[in-house]
């Protein structure tokens, strides 16, 4: 125990003496949370919308005014001809063109049927899909209104119009994107910083030759490893603390669940990451190598964590891979505890898997750390 104290003391001194590292540890989380949480949003707003009105009727103007009233659409202009509209689309000036045909109003009144043409810029397929949904919603809404006007009340077909759906969104009532993203980004910060710092730390000692000096001392492997990793474990938990304060104070993210539960889970989770970092540093000779390998795993872990894309929509084989992704469980737990207020029993599966990962990774790390070559 006494020896452990000497190592921990030395590690903390070195961390706080490293003028390049300190800002990274404490300023980076702050900046990333502020920037990413505001920028990483899938809400699509201010869609550049234009229209060609060939009808100039009451109905056509009513339809257009519905788009003007929507907060998602920004009506840029109307085009006199299809040709000019297409040119604007090619230039990227507009994203959605709605063309209202001639006799739109007459057809609706006489035939109860009319065609509309919608052209959407689909360079970004995901946003094109969302834009399509928005356009459809507005048109359907318009459709409902005119149904009331055009059909006779006696018509049995319209009985269904009376059904009213009022969606109620649980856990995030206003569908605030930040509420959803902040816990996830917090996960990234804790993971990245602890992985990179621990991965590079022991390799650094290899590079400068002090590791050899350590290896000729009678120090026990476990003492050295625990002494090395403990400071980063503390750092990881302090980053979580800083992040939670930012989430609460700046983003007003509700923290419904038990804080102690979050700390309990995070403290186990960091052990997994530290084990991975140590494992990487045992198999690399330079900090550069360690950094590249850490990045490789980091990118895969992040993209397959369910943070940005839902795991449910991944192909089956990819979903199986995510079972081995510790970040996935951390993201789940953070969102569950923070937003839903889940209790210990709810997150027990994640806790057990994380404990298992921690045992495996640290076992591998201790096994692969050799005082003798």
């Amino acid at each position: 125990m006494k020896i452990l104290g000497f190592i921990i003391q030395k590690e903390f001194k070195q961390i706080f003496r490293n003028k390049g590292m300190l800002p990274i540890i404490f300023v980076m989380p702050f900046i990333q949370l502020l920037i990413l949480s505001n920028a990483a949003t899938f809400d699509i707003k201010n869609i550049k919308f234009s229209y060609i009105d060939n009808d100039h009727s009451t109905y056509s103007r009513e339809l257009i005014s519905k788009f003007e009233a929507s907060k998602y659409f920004h009506v840029i202009t109307d085009f006199p001809s299809e040709k000019k509209a297409k040119l604007a689309m090619l230039n990227g000036d507009v994203n959605v063109i709605l063309e209202i045909p001639k006799y739109f109003e007459r057809d609706l009144q006489k035939e109860k049927y009319a065609n509309l043409s919608v052209t959407i810029n689909a360079i970004d397929g995901a946003s094109a899909g969302v834009e399509n949904v928005y356009v459809n919603q507005i048109i359907q809404n318009f459709n409902k209104n005119i149904q009331v006007e055009l059909f006779q009340p006696s018509n049995s077909n319209i009985a269904s119009v009376d059904i009213l759906t009022i969606p109620s969104f649980w856990y995030n009532k206003t569908l605030n994107y930040k509420t959803y993203m902040v816990p996830g980004i917090l996960v990234l910060l804790v993971t990245m910083i602890t992985l990179f710092l621990s991965g590079m730390n022991i390799v650094r000692e290899k590079e400068i030759g002090t590791l050899e000096q350590i290896n000729v001392t009678p120090i026990k492997k476990s003492q050295f490893i625990v002494g090395k990793l403990f400071p980063f474990w503390v750092l990881g938990l302090s980053i979580l603390t800083v992040g939670l304060i930012i989430a609460k104070v700046i983003f007003n993210v509700p923290i419904v669940g038990n804080l102690m539960l979050m700390y309990l889970y995070t403290s186990i989770y960091i052990l997994v990451i530290l084990g991975i970092g140590l494992f990487i540093s045992n198999f690399t000779e330079t900090q550069q190598q360690a950094m590249f390998i850490s990045w490789f795993f980091m990118v895969i872990f992040i993209l397959m964590s369910g943070l940005f894309t839902p795991i449910e929509s991944m192909p089956n084989w990819a979903q199986r891979i995510t079972d081995f992704n510790p970040i996935k469980y951390f993201v789940e737990v953070m969102r569950m505890v923070m937003l839903k207020g889940s209790g210990f029993i709810d997150i027990l599966p994640q806790v057990l898997k994380t404990v298992l990962f921690a045992l495996i990774m640290n076992g591998l790390a201790v096994w692969s750390y050799k005082k003798t070559t």
């Binding site: 006494k2 020896i3 104290g5 000497f6 190592i7 003391q9 030395k10 001194k13 070195q14 003496r17 490293n18 400068i208 030759g209 002090t210 050899e212 000096q213 350590i214 290896n215 000729v216 001392t217 009678p218 120090i219 005082k371 003798t372 070559t373």
Partner: protein, 240 residues
Amino acid sequence: MEKVIEAKSLTKSFGDFTAVNAITFHVEKGEIFGFLGANGAGKTTAMKMLIGISNPTSGEAKVAGFDVFKQRESIKNNIGYMSQKFALYDDLTVKENITFFGGIYGLSREVIKSKTQVLIKELNLEEVENQLVGSLPLGWKQKISFSVALLHNPKIVFLDEPTGGVDPITRRQFWEMIYKAANQGTTIFVTTHYMDEAEYCDRVSIMVNGKIEALDTPKNLKNSYKADSMNDVFLKLARG
């Protein structure tokens, strides 16, 4: 005399390459043992086996009475080591380095404190004791390194080219420190490329291509190779 290092046919191979080829020798207590050889002759590899950070391929060896195969951690309790690569922490102060290395050898904080005071006084480091080691000149760092290697009163100290790149005055002072430690009963196992330093040793071995080609006192070596200096002995042997 008590033998503190005993090696019999100690061998280390890396694949087809035999870095250390069945060396047999012993070192006596309190001796200054010079371990000479050209670059790549296998000195460092041999030393790494003796200090327990490299597994021998075959042969046997005992250091401070402990087996290099089975009792490596006991060996480590009884030896000090100073590597070719300077191995104190540049971002810790002189005092902090001493505290750390004393600490991982299991010394108590009181013992470390008193030892640090003695050591800093002996090395005249009072003015720089709270400076980062990285800011000190190489010669000073080497002297601190050596003192740190002696901190836990080891029976044997292994020095791997301790004076490489150090000025002649500091080199002389360094050897005075070595003599002092040897007088107090510490065995010194030292590799060097400076032949004047070889003359200071009680006995000298010269390694060529993984084998010990000669082992004797500097005086006897000069006689048997009909050379005026250790430099000539070395040239005759190392050239083959």
